[in-house]
Protein backbone atom coordinates (compact mmCIF):
# COMPACT_ATOMS: atom_id res chain seq x y z
CA UNK A 1 0.00 0.00 0.00
CA UNK A 2 2.62 2.41 1.09
CA UNK A 3 4.54 1.33 -1.93
CA UNK A 4 1.65 1.96 -4.20
CA UNK A 5 1.38 5.45 -2.78
CA UNK A 6 5.05 5.96 -3.40
CA UNK A 7 4.57 4.87 -6.96
CA UNK A 8 1.93 7.46 -7.48
CA UNK A 9 4.10 10.19 -6.09
CA UNK A 10 6.83 9.07 -8.40
CA UNK A 11 4.62 9.23 -11.41
CA UNK A 12 3.46 12.67 -10.50
CA UNK A 13 6.96 13.87 -9.92
CA UNK A 14 8.30 12.44 -13.11
CA UNK A 15 5.33 13.82 -14.94
CA UNK A 16 5.95 17.25 -13.53
CA UNK A 17 9.59 17.25 -14.37
CA UNK A 18 9.41 15.72 -17.77
CA UNK A 19 8.06 18.60 -19.89
CA UNK A 20 10.57 21.07 -18.53
CA UNK A 21 13.28 18.55 -19.02
CA UNK A 22 12.24 17.84 -22.51
CA UNK A 23 12.16 21.50 -23.29
CA UNK A 24 15.62 22.01 -21.92
CA UNK A 25 17.10 18.84 -23.16
CA UNK A 26 15.94 18.06 -26.58
CA UNK A 27 17.60 20.89 -28.43
CA UNK A 28 20.89 20.76 -26.48
CA UNK A 29 23.10 18.46 -28.53
CA UNK A 30 25.08 16.34 -26.12
CA UNK A 31 25.74 18.69 -23.26
CA UNK A 32 29.30 18.56 -21.93
CA UNK A 33 29.80 15.62 -19.65
CA UNK A 34 29.60 16.86 -16.12
CA UNK A 35 30.26 13.65 -14.34
CA UNK A 36 33.02 12.63 -16.65
CA UNK A 37 34.38 16.06 -16.53
CA UNK A 38 37.96 15.26 -17.31
CA UNK A 39 37.77 16.12 -20.95
CA UNK A 40 38.73 19.69 -21.70
CA UNK A 41 37.00 21.36 -24.64
CA UNK A 42 39.49 20.32 -27.29
CA UNK A 43 39.80 21.99 -30.63
CA UNK A 44 38.31 19.93 -33.40
CA UNK A 45 41.40 17.84 -34.07
CA UNK A 46 41.05 14.12 -34.70
CA UNK A 47 40.93 12.55 -31.26
CA UNK A 48 44.13 10.74 -30.34
CA UNK A 49 44.45 7.85 -27.94
CA UNK A 50 46.64 8.69 -24.96
CA UNK A 51 48.49 5.60 -23.81
CA UNK A 52 48.74 6.72 -20.18
CA UNK A 53 45.05 7.48 -19.93
CA UNK A 54 44.22 4.20 -21.62
CA UNK A 55 46.54 2.29 -19.30
CA UNK A 56 44.80 3.77 -16.28
CA UNK A 57 41.31 3.13 -17.65
CA UNK A 58 42.13 -0.50 -18.43
CA UNK A 59 43.70 -0.97 -15.01
CA UNK A 60 40.65 0.66 -13.48
CA UNK A 61 38.31 -1.61 -15.40
CA UNK A 62 40.16 -4.65 -14.10
CA UNK A 63 39.99 -3.23 -10.59
CA UNK A 64 36.26 -2.67 -10.80
CA UNK A 65 35.67 -6.15 -12.17
CA UNK A 66 37.55 -7.46 -9.14
CA UNK A 67 35.09 -5.69 -6.87
CA UNK A 68 32.22 -8.01 -7.65
CA UNK A 69 33.97 -11.14 -6.36
CA UNK A 70 35.10 -8.87 -3.54
CA UNK A 71 31.48 -8.15 -2.81
CA UNK A 72 30.75 -11.86 -3.06
CA UNK A 73 33.16 -12.54 -0.23
CA UNK A 74 32.06 -9.50 1.72
CA UNK A 75 28.49 -10.72 1.63
CA UNK A 76 29.32 -14.43 1.54
CA UNK A 77 31.24 -14.31 4.80
CA UNK A 78 28.22 -12.79 6.52
CA UNK A 79 25.67 -15.47 5.79
CA UNK A 80 25.35 -18.90 7.32
CA UNK A 81 27.53 -21.71 6.01
CA UNK A 82 24.66 -23.25 4.16
CA UNK A 83 24.10 -20.18 2.02
CA UNK A 84 27.54 -18.89 1.10
CA UNK A 85 27.60 -20.51 -2.31
CA UNK A 86 24.30 -18.97 -3.20
CA UNK A 87 25.83 -15.55 -2.61
CA UNK A 88 28.97 -16.36 -4.56
CA UNK A 89 26.86 -17.78 -7.36
CA UNK A 90 24.59 -14.78 -7.53
CA UNK A 91 27.56 -12.44 -7.76
CA UNK A 92 29.44 -14.48 -10.33
CA UNK A 93 26.45 -15.15 -12.52
CA UNK A 94 25.90 -11.40 -12.61
CA UNK A 95 29.45 -10.99 -13.88
CA UNK A 96 28.52 -13.33 -16.69
CA UNK A 97 25.00 -12.18 -17.34
CA UNK A 98 25.52 -8.45 -17.35
CA UNK A 99 28.79 -8.61 -19.27
CA UNK A 100 26.86 -10.18 -22.09
CA UNK A 101 23.76 -8.03 -21.69
CA UNK A 102 25.96 -4.95 -21.75
CA UNK A 103 27.73 -5.62 -25.04
CA UNK A 104 24.53 -6.87 -26.65
CA UNK A 105 22.24 -3.98 -25.76
CA UNK A 106 22.79 -2.62 -22.26
CA UNK A 107 25.52 -0.20 -23.19
CA UNK A 108 23.49 1.01 -26.09
CA UNK A 109 20.42 1.62 -23.95
CA UNK A 110 22.44 3.52 -21.40
CA UNK A 111 24.89 5.49 -23.48
CA UNK A 112 23.91 5.76 -27.09
CA UNK A 113 22.39 9.09 -27.96
CA UNK A 114 18.67 8.67 -27.42
CA UNK A 115 16.21 10.87 -25.62
CA UNK A 116 16.28 12.31 -22.10
CA UNK A 117 15.05 9.05 -20.64
CA UNK A 118 16.95 6.29 -22.36
CA UNK A 119 19.40 5.64 -25.18
CA UNK A 120 18.62 3.82 -28.38
CA UNK A 121 19.53 0.42 -29.76
CA UNK A 122 21.89 1.98 -32.30
CA UNK A 123 24.93 0.65 -30.54
CA UNK A 124 23.56 -2.84 -29.95
CA UNK A 125 26.24 -5.50 -30.27
CA UNK A 126 28.74 -2.65 -29.98
CA UNK A 127 28.07 -1.63 -33.54
CA UNK A 128 29.62 1.78 -33.88
CA UNK A 129 31.48 1.42 -30.61
CA UNK A 130 35.02 1.30 -31.87
CA UNK A 131 38.60 1.71 -30.87
CA UNK A 132 38.70 5.45 -31.58
CA UNK A 133 37.92 7.83 -28.75
CA UNK A 134 34.33 9.00 -28.61
CA UNK A 135 34.58 12.62 -27.70
CA UNK A 136 31.44 12.92 -25.65
CA UNK A 137 32.54 10.34 -23.15
CA UNK A 138 36.30 10.08 -23.28
CA UNK A 139 38.37 12.19 -25.58
CA UNK A 140 41.65 10.37 -25.07
CA UNK A 141 40.84 6.68 -24.73
CA UNK A 142 39.22 4.24 -27.14
CA UNK A 143 35.46 4.22 -26.98
CA UNK A 144 35.40 0.51 -26.15
CA UNK A 145 37.56 1.21 -23.09
CA UNK A 146 34.89 3.55 -21.80
CA UNK A 147 32.30 0.90 -22.63
CA UNK A 148 34.03 -1.88 -20.72
CA UNK A 149 34.74 0.38 -17.76
CA UNK A 150 31.04 1.14 -17.63
CA UNK A 151 30.26 -2.56 -17.97
CA UNK A 152 31.88 -3.18 -14.62
CA UNK A 153 29.58 -0.64 -13.01
CA UNK A 154 26.60 -2.29 -14.61
CA UNK A 155 27.71 -5.59 -13.08
CA UNK A 156 28.32 -4.53 -9.54
CA UNK A 157 25.20 -2.41 -9.15
CA UNK A 158 22.70 -5.27 -9.27
CA UNK A 159 25.13 -7.36 -7.22
CA UNK A 160 24.83 -4.88 -4.38
CA UNK A 161 21.13 -5.64 -4.10
CA UNK A 162 21.90 -9.26 -3.19
CA UNK A 163 22.63 -8.25 0.37
CA UNK A 164 19.02 -7.32 0.93
CA UNK A 165 17.40 -10.62 0.06
CA UNK A 166 20.23 -12.98 0.93
CA UNK A 167 19.38 -16.47 2.21
CA UNK A 168 15.84 -16.64 0.85
CA UNK A 169 15.52 -16.05 -2.88
CA UNK A 170 14.88 -18.68 -5.52
CA UNK A 171 17.73 -18.76 -7.99
CA UNK A 172 15.60 -18.86 -11.12
CA UNK A 173 13.68 -15.84 -9.90
CA UNK A 174 16.93 -14.14 -9.06
CA UNK A 175 18.16 -14.48 -12.63
CA UNK A 176 14.96 -13.25 -14.14
CA UNK A 177 14.80 -10.35 -11.72
CA UNK A 178 18.31 -9.26 -12.52
CA UNK A 179 17.92 -9.33 -16.26
CA UNK A 180 14.82 -7.16 -15.98
CA UNK A 181 16.26 -4.86 -13.37
CA UNK A 182 19.47 -4.26 -15.28
CA UNK A 183 17.54 -3.43 -18.41
CA UNK A 184 14.64 -1.45 -17.07
CA UNK A 185 16.18 0.20 -14.05
CA UNK A 186 19.94 0.39 -14.30
CA UNK A 187 20.26 1.25 -17.95
CA UNK A 188 17.82 4.19 -17.89
CA UNK A 189 19.16 5.64 -14.67
CA UNK A 190 22.71 5.42 -16.01
CA UNK A 191 21.46 7.23 -19.07
CA UNK A 192 19.85 9.99 -17.03
CA UNK A 193 23.03 10.76 -15.17
CA UNK A 194 25.87 9.92 -17.55
CA UNK A 195 24.38 9.35 -20.97
CA UNK A 196 24.59 11.96 -23.69
CA UNK A 197 21.36 13.92 -23.31
CA UNK A 198 20.37 12.21 -20.09
CA UNK A 199 17.83 14.06 -18.01
CA UNK A 200 19.83 14.58 -14.82
CA UNK A 201 22.98 15.61 -16.62
CA UNK A 202 21.56 18.99 -17.41
CA UNK A 203 18.63 20.23 -15.40
CA UNK A 204 18.46 23.51 -17.23
CA UNK A 205 18.81 26.49 -14.95
CA UNK A 206 19.52 24.18 -12.04
CA UNK A 207 22.70 23.01 -13.73
CA UNK A 208 23.40 19.31 -13.82
CA UNK A 209 23.35 16.83 -10.97
CA UNK A 210 26.86 15.90 -9.95
CA UNK A 211 27.56 12.22 -9.68
CA UNK A 212 31.19 11.49 -10.34
CA UNK A 213 31.25 7.72 -10.03
CA UNK A 214 27.77 6.57 -9.24
CA UNK A 215 26.20 7.69 -6.00
CA UNK A 216 22.77 7.79 -7.54
CA UNK A 217 23.17 5.37 -10.41
CA UNK A 218 24.91 2.70 -8.40
CA UNK A 219 24.36 3.01 -4.69
CA UNK A 220 21.00 4.69 -4.20
CA UNK A 221 19.64 2.74 -7.10
CA UNK A 222 20.75 -0.61 -5.66
CA UNK A 223 20.07 0.31 -2.05
CA UNK A 224 16.49 1.30 -2.72
CA UNK A 225 15.89 -1.75 -4.89
CA UNK A 226 17.19 -3.83 -1.99
CA UNK A 227 14.88 -2.10 0.43
CA UNK A 228 11.86 -2.78 -1.72
CA UNK A 229 12.89 -6.38 -2.27
CA UNK A 230 13.37 -7.15 1.41
CA UNK A 231 9.99 -5.66 2.20
CA UNK A 232 8.35 -7.64 -0.57
CA UNK A 233 10.03 -10.92 0.22
CA UNK A 234 9.50 -10.71 3.93
CA UNK A 235 11.85 -11.83 6.67
CA UNK A 236 13.99 -14.91 6.66
CA UNK A 237 12.30 -17.77 8.50
CA UNK A 238 13.38 -17.91 12.10
CA UNK A 239 14.53 -14.32 11.92
CA UNK A 240 13.69 -12.74 15.23
CA UNK A 241 15.63 -9.52 15.16
CA UNK A 242 18.60 -11.45 16.49
CA UNK A 243 21.44 -11.72 14.10
CA UNK A 244 23.14 -14.87 12.92
CA UNK A 245 26.84 -14.34 13.41
CA UNK A 246 28.74 -14.12 10.11
CA UNK A 247 29.99 -17.61 9.44
CA UNK A 248 33.39 -16.46 8.24
CA UNK A 249 34.48 -12.97 9.21
CA UNK A 250 37.88 -13.25 7.55
CA UNK A 251 36.05 -13.62 4.25
CA UNK A 252 34.14 -10.45 5.06
CA UNK A 253 37.44 -8.66 5.61
CA UNK A 254 38.92 -10.13 2.45
CA UNK A 255 35.92 -8.93 0.51
CA UNK A 256 36.16 -5.48 2.04
CA UNK A 257 39.82 -5.30 1.14
CA UNK A 258 39.07 -6.27 -2.45
CA UNK A 259 36.36 -3.63 -2.52
CA UNK A 260 38.61 -0.90 -1.14
CA UNK A 261 41.33 -1.86 -3.60
CA UNK A 262 38.97 -1.98 -6.54
CA UNK A 263 37.24 1.23 -5.57
CA UNK A 264 40.31 3.17 -6.59
CA UNK A 265 39.48 2.10 -10.11
CA UNK A 266 35.83 2.89 -9.57
CA UNK A 267 36.31 6.47 -8.46
CA UNK A 268 39.69 7.49 -9.76
CA UNK A 269 39.10 5.69 -13.03
CA UNK A 270 35.96 7.77 -13.48
CA UNK A 271 38.23 10.67 -14.36
CA UNK A 272 38.76 8.67 -17.56
CA UNK A 273 42.34 9.87 -17.64
CA UNK A 274 45.49 9.59 -15.56
CA UNK A 275 45.52 13.24 -14.61
CA UNK A 276 45.23 15.50 -11.62
CA UNK A 277 41.54 14.85 -11.28
CA UNK A 278 42.16 11.11 -11.10
CA UNK A 279 44.74 11.70 -8.41
CA UNK A 280 42.40 13.90 -6.44
CA UNK A 281 39.63 11.32 -6.67
CA UNK A 282 42.04 8.65 -5.52
CA UNK A 283 43.10 10.67 -2.49
CA UNK A 284 39.63 11.60 -1.31
CA UNK A 285 38.43 8.04 -1.86
CA UNK A 286 41.06 6.66 0.42
CA UNK A 287 40.55 9.37 2.98
CA UNK A 288 36.79 9.04 3.20
CA UNK A 289 37.00 5.26 3.49
CA UNK A 290 39.55 5.53 6.25
CA UNK A 291 37.70 8.17 8.19
CA UNK A 292 34.43 6.28 7.93
CA UNK A 293 36.04 3.04 9.11
CA UNK A 294 37.53 4.89 12.03
CA UNK A 295 34.25 6.56 12.87
CA UNK A 296 32.33 3.31 12.90
CA UNK A 297 34.92 1.75 15.20
CA UNK A 298 34.68 4.71 17.55
CA UNK A 299 30.90 4.55 17.58
CA UNK A 300 31.04 0.89 18.51
CA UNK A 301 33.59 1.61 21.17
CA UNK A 302 31.26 4.15 22.68
CA UNK A 303 28.06 2.19 22.26
CA UNK A 304 29.04 -1.45 22.70
CA UNK A 305 32.24 -1.09 24.65
CA UNK A 306 34.45 -2.63 21.98
CA UNK A 307 35.22 -1.84 18.34
CA UNK A 308 34.87 -4.71 15.90
CA UNK A 309 36.55 -5.57 12.64
CA UNK A 310 33.09 -6.20 11.20
CA UNK A 311 32.09 -2.67 12.08
CA UNK A 312 35.33 -1.17 10.87
CA UNK A 313 35.12 -2.67 7.42
CA UNK A 314 31.42 -1.90 7.24
CA UNK A 315 32.30 1.70 7.97
CA UNK A 316 35.05 1.72 5.39
CA UNK A 317 32.69 0.40 2.74
CA UNK A 318 30.11 3.00 3.75
CA UNK A 319 32.78 5.65 3.38
CA UNK A 320 33.58 4.40 -0.10
CA UNK A 321 29.91 4.53 -0.97
CA UNK A 322 29.49 8.06 0.26
CA UNK A 323 32.54 9.50 -1.45
CA UNK A 324 31.63 7.92 -4.77
CA UNK A 325 29.46 10.72 -6.17
CA UNK A 326 31.66 13.38 -4.61
CA UNK A 327 35.06 11.99 -5.46
CA UNK A 328 35.71 14.19 -8.47
CA UNK A 329 34.45 17.35 -6.87
CA UNK A 330 35.68 17.63 -3.30
CA UNK A 331 39.01 18.06 -1.60
CA UNK A 332 40.43 16.15 1.30
CA UNK A 333 38.94 17.91 4.31
CA UNK A 334 35.37 17.60 3.04
CA UNK A 335 36.19 13.95 2.36
CA UNK A 336 36.87 13.55 6.05
CA UNK A 337 33.54 15.10 6.93
CA UNK A 338 31.77 12.90 4.41
CA UNK A 339 33.42 9.88 6.00
CA UNK A 340 32.33 10.84 9.49
CA UNK A 341 28.83 11.62 8.36
CA UNK A 342 28.22 8.41 6.52
CA UNK A 343 29.28 6.20 9.39
CA UNK A 344 27.08 8.01 11.84
CA UNK A 345 24.09 7.76 9.54
CA UNK A 346 24.62 4.15 8.49
CA UNK A 347 25.38 3.05 12.03
CA UNK A 348 22.09 4.53 13.14
CA UNK A 349 20.28 2.92 10.23
CA UNK A 350 21.75 -0.50 10.80
CA UNK A 351 21.77 -0.70 14.57
CA UNK A 352 18.65 1.28 15.43
CA UNK A 353 16.40 1.95 12.47
CA UNK A 354 16.41 -1.59 11.11
CA UNK A 355 15.58 -3.39 14.38
CA UNK A 356 13.04 -0.69 15.13
CA UNK A 357 11.20 -0.98 11.83
CA UNK A 358 11.81 -4.70 11.75
CA UNK A 359 12.56 -5.18 8.05
CA UNK A 360 15.05 -7.91 7.25
CA UNK A 361 17.69 -6.30 5.06
CA UNK A 362 19.87 -9.37 5.61
CA UNK A 363 23.27 -7.85 4.94
CA UNK A 364 22.35 -4.17 5.02
CA UNK A 365 22.36 -3.42 1.32
CA UNK A 366 19.95 -0.57 1.99
CA UNK A 367 21.49 0.41 5.31
CA UNK A 368 24.92 0.89 3.79
CA UNK A 369 24.46 1.55 0.09
CA UNK A 370 21.07 3.21 0.18
CA UNK A 371 21.66 5.48 3.13
CA UNK A 372 25.33 5.97 2.33
CA UNK A 373 24.56 6.81 -1.29
CA UNK A 374 21.95 9.38 -0.32
CA UNK A 375 24.29 11.06 2.10
CA UNK A 376 27.04 11.06 -0.50
CA UNK A 377 24.86 12.54 -3.22
CA UNK A 378 23.61 15.28 -0.93
CA UNK A 379 27.04 15.91 0.54
CA UNK A 380 28.28 16.47 -2.99
CA UNK A 381 25.82 19.32 -3.11
CA UNK A 382 27.34 20.66 0.08
CA UNK A 383 31.05 20.29 -0.53
CA UNK A 384 31.62 20.34 -4.30
CA UNK A 385 34.09 22.96 -5.38
CA UNK A 386 35.16 24.25 -8.75
CA UNK A 387 38.66 24.55 -7.38
CA UNK A 388 38.88 20.77 -7.47
CA UNK A 389 37.10 20.29 -10.75
CA UNK A 390 36.56 23.18 -13.03
CA UNK A 391 34.01 21.27 -15.03
CA UNK A 392 31.93 20.56 -11.94
CA UNK A 393 30.06 23.07 -9.82
CA UNK A 394 30.21 24.66 -6.42
CA UNK A 395 28.15 23.27 -3.58
CA UNK A 396 26.28 24.96 -0.79
CA UNK A 397 29.36 25.66 1.30
CA UNK A 398 31.02 27.21 -1.69
CA UNK A 399 28.20 29.61 -2.25
CA UNK A 400 25.86 27.71 -4.54
CA UNK A 401 22.79 26.43 -2.67
CA UNK A 402 21.10 25.47 -5.95
CA UNK A 403 23.42 22.55 -6.31
CA UNK A 404 21.98 20.94 -3.19
CA UNK A 405 18.55 21.18 -4.71
CA UNK A 406 19.79 19.67 -7.95
CA UNK A 407 21.31 16.83 -6.00
CA UNK A 408 18.11 16.32 -4.05
CA UNK A 409 16.17 16.07 -7.26
CA UNK A 410 18.57 13.46 -8.59
CA UNK A 411 18.28 11.53 -5.34
CA UNK A 412 14.53 11.76 -5.32
CA UNK A 413 14.16 10.75 -8.93
CA UNK A 414 16.41 7.74 -8.43
CA UNK A 415 14.64 6.64 -5.27
CA UNK A 416 11.24 6.86 -6.85
CA UNK A 417 12.13 5.30 -10.13
CA UNK A 418 14.15 2.47 -8.63
CA UNK A 419 11.60 1.83 -5.91
CA UNK A 420 8.60 1.73 -8.18
CA UNK A 421 10.19 -0.31 -10.93
CA UNK A 422 11.68 -2.83 -8.53
CA UNK A 423 8.27 -3.25 -6.97
CA UNK A 424 6.65 -3.82 -10.33
CA UNK A 425 9.29 -6.32 -11.41
CA UNK A 426 8.90 -8.17 -8.13
CA UNK A 427 5.14 -8.36 -8.45
CA UNK A 428 5.26 -9.60 -12.01
CA UNK A 429 7.84 -12.24 -11.24
CA UNK A 430 6.14 -13.35 -8.06
CA UNK A 431 2.93 -13.86 -9.98
CA UNK A 432 4.64 -15.74 -12.78
CA UNK A 433 7.29 -17.92 -11.13
CA UNK A 434 7.38 -17.05 -7.45
CA UNK A 435 10.38 -15.27 -6.03
CA UNK A 436 10.88 -16.71 -2.59
CA UNK A 437 12.47 -20.06 -1.89
CA UNK A 438 10.23 -22.65 -0.26
CA UNK A 439 10.41 -23.03 3.49
CA UNK A 440 12.09 -26.38 3.17
CA UNK A 441 14.72 -25.08 0.78
CA UNK A 442 15.40 -22.12 2.97
CA UNK A 443 15.81 -24.31 6.03
CA UNK A 444 18.14 -26.78 4.33
CA UNK A 445 20.04 -23.90 2.80
CA UNK A 446 20.18 -22.43 -0.66
CA UNK A 447 23.52 -24.02 -1.54
CA UNK A 448 22.18 -27.52 -1.51
CA UNK A 449 18.71 -26.77 -2.73
CA UNK A 450 19.38 -24.17 -5.42
CA UNK A 451 22.74 -25.42 -6.58
CA UNK A 452 23.21 -29.00 -5.41
CA UNK A 453 26.60 -28.31 -3.89
CA UNK A 454 28.08 -27.58 -0.47
CA UNK A 455 30.74 -25.04 0.42
CA UNK A 456 32.92 -26.96 2.84
CA UNK A 457 33.44 -30.62 3.47
CA UNK A 458 33.55 -31.76 7.06
CA UNK A 459 35.58 -34.89 6.89
CA UNK A 460 37.92 -34.66 3.96
Amino acid sequence: MMLVRLALVALVMVGALAPGLLAEQTPAPLAPAVATAAAPPVAEAAPKVDSGDTAWLLASSALVLFMTPGLAFFYGGMVRKKNILSILMQCMILCCLISVQWVLFGYSLAFSPGNWFIGSLDWAGLSGVGLEPFKDYSATVPHQAFMIFQAMFAIITPALIIGAFAERIKFSAFVAFMVLWATFVYDPVAHWVWGAGGMLRDLGSLGGALDFAGGTVVHINAGVAGFVMCLCLGKRRGFNGKTNPPHNLPFVVLGAAMLWFGWFGFNSGSALAANGLAVSAFVVTNTAAAMAGLTWAVLEWLVNGKPTIFGTVTGAVAGLVAITPASGFVSVLPAILIGIGVSVLCFLAVAYLKPKLGYDDSLDAFGVHGIGGMWGALATGLFASKLVNDAGANGLFYGNPTQLLTQAIAVGATILYSGVCTFIIYKVLDAVIGVRATEKDEVIGLDLTQHREGAYTILE
Binding site: K82, V443, I444, L448, R452, E453, I458, L459
Partner: protein, 113 residues
Protein backbone atom coordinates in the same frame (compact mmCIF):
# COMPACT_ATOMS: atom_id res chain seq x y z
CA UNK B 1 22.14 -40.43 36.37
CA UNK B 2 21.83 -40.71 32.59
CA UNK B 3 23.57 -39.34 29.60
CA UNK B 4 21.02 -38.32 27.01
CA UNK B 5 22.42 -38.16 23.48
CA UNK B 6 20.22 -36.59 20.84
CA UNK B 7 20.85 -36.25 17.13
CA UNK B 8 18.70 -33.57 15.56
CA UNK B 9 18.33 -31.39 12.48
CA UNK B 10 20.66 -28.38 12.71
CA UNK B 11 17.91 -25.86 12.14
CA UNK B 12 15.90 -27.16 15.08
CA UNK B 13 18.63 -26.46 17.61
CA UNK B 14 17.20 -23.13 18.64
CA UNK B 15 13.77 -24.59 19.32
CA UNK B 16 15.21 -27.54 21.22
CA UNK B 17 17.25 -25.24 23.39
CA UNK B 18 14.18 -23.15 24.07
CA UNK B 19 12.17 -26.22 25.08
CA UNK B 20 14.99 -27.47 27.28
CA UNK B 21 15.08 -24.18 29.14
CA UNK B 22 11.38 -24.41 29.75
CA UNK B 23 12.02 -27.86 31.20
CA UNK B 24 14.75 -26.32 33.35
CA UNK B 25 17.48 -28.24 31.65
CA UNK B 26 20.10 -25.54 31.21
CA UNK B 27 23.35 -27.34 30.76
CA UNK B 28 24.28 -29.09 27.59
CA UNK B 29 27.05 -29.82 25.17
CA UNK B 30 26.60 -29.58 21.42
CA UNK B 31 28.61 -30.58 18.38
CA UNK B 32 28.25 -31.01 14.69
CA UNK B 33 28.03 -34.49 13.21
CA UNK B 34 27.24 -36.15 9.93
CA UNK B 35 24.33 -38.47 9.92
CA UNK B 36 23.47 -41.35 7.72
CA UNK B 37 19.90 -42.46 8.14
CA UNK B 38 16.73 -43.07 6.24
CA UNK B 39 16.58 -39.53 5.05
CA UNK B 40 17.68 -39.06 1.48
CA UNK B 41 19.67 -35.89 1.15
CA UNK B 42 20.16 -33.74 -1.89
CA UNK B 43 22.51 -35.53 -4.27
CA UNK B 44 25.28 -33.07 -4.90
CA UNK B 45 26.81 -32.74 -8.37
CA UNK B 46 30.34 -31.53 -8.98
CA UNK B 47 31.38 -30.95 -12.57
CA UNK B 48 28.77 -33.37 -13.67
CA UNK B 49 29.63 -36.12 -11.21
CA UNK B 50 27.18 -37.08 -8.51
CA UNK B 51 28.46 -37.24 -4.98
CA UNK B 52 26.73 -40.09 -3.24
CA UNK B 53 28.33 -39.98 0.18
CA UNK B 54 24.96 -39.04 1.49
CA UNK B 55 26.11 -37.88 4.89
CA UNK B 56 23.88 -35.12 6.11
CA UNK B 57 24.63 -32.35 8.54
CA UNK B 58 23.16 -33.02 11.97
CA UNK B 59 23.70 -31.66 15.43
CA UNK B 60 24.43 -33.89 18.41
CA UNK B 61 23.45 -32.89 21.92
CA UNK B 62 24.88 -34.49 25.03
CA UNK B 63 23.02 -33.80 28.23
CA UNK B 64 23.81 -35.35 31.58
CA UNK B 65 20.71 -35.47 33.77
CA UNK B 66 19.51 -36.85 37.04
CA UNK B 67 17.04 -39.68 36.72
CA UNK B 68 13.95 -37.61 37.36
CA UNK B 69 14.93 -35.28 34.56
CA UNK B 70 15.20 -37.94 31.87
CA UNK B 71 11.56 -37.85 30.84
CA UNK B 72 11.22 -34.05 30.74
CA UNK B 73 14.43 -33.85 28.75
CA UNK B 74 13.22 -36.34 26.18
CA UNK B 75 9.92 -34.56 25.95
CA UNK B 76 11.57 -31.22 25.42
CA UNK B 77 13.83 -32.54 22.71
CA UNK B 78 11.01 -34.21 20.86
CA UNK B 79 8.90 -31.10 21.14
CA UNK B 80 11.62 -28.88 19.79
CA UNK B 81 12.95 -31.18 17.11
CA UNK B 82 9.95 -32.97 15.68
CA UNK B 83 8.90 -31.95 12.20
CA UNK B 84 7.35 -35.26 11.27
CA UNK B 85 9.65 -35.77 8.33
CA UNK B 86 12.39 -38.34 7.91
CA UNK B 87 15.64 -37.07 9.30
CA UNK B 88 14.29 -35.75 12.57
CA UNK B 89 16.77 -37.91 14.44
CA UNK B 90 17.08 -40.09 17.50
CA UNK B 91 17.52 -39.92 21.22
CA UNK B 92 19.75 -42.41 23.04
CA UNK B 93 19.76 -42.74 26.81
CA UNK B 94 22.88 -44.21 28.41
CA UNK B 95 23.44 -45.12 32.03
CA UNK B 96 25.99 -42.90 33.72
CA UNK B 97 27.82 -43.90 36.85
CA UNK B 98 29.49 -40.76 38.00
CA UNK B 99 29.50 -37.06 37.35
CA UNK B 100 32.18 -34.71 38.62
CA UNK B 101 32.24 -30.93 38.47
CA UNK B 102 35.83 -29.99 37.72
CA UNK B 103 35.70 -26.57 39.31
CA UNK B 104 34.72 -27.86 42.76
CA UNK B 105 35.34 -31.58 42.46
CA UNK B 106 31.80 -32.04 43.72
CA UNK B 107 30.42 -35.37 42.63
CA UNK B 108 27.09 -36.99 41.91
CA UNK B 109 23.64 -35.59 41.59
CA UNK B 110 24.65 -32.16 42.74
CA UNK B 111 27.39 -31.91 40.14
CA UNK B 112 25.11 -32.43 37.22
CA UNK B 113 23.23 -29.16 37.27
Amino acid sequence: MKLVIAIIQPHRLEQVKAELYKAEVNLLTVFEVLGHGRQKGVAEVYRGMKETGNLLHKVCLEIAVNDNFVEPTIDAIVKGAQTGETGDGKIFVLPMERCIRIRTREEGTVAIG
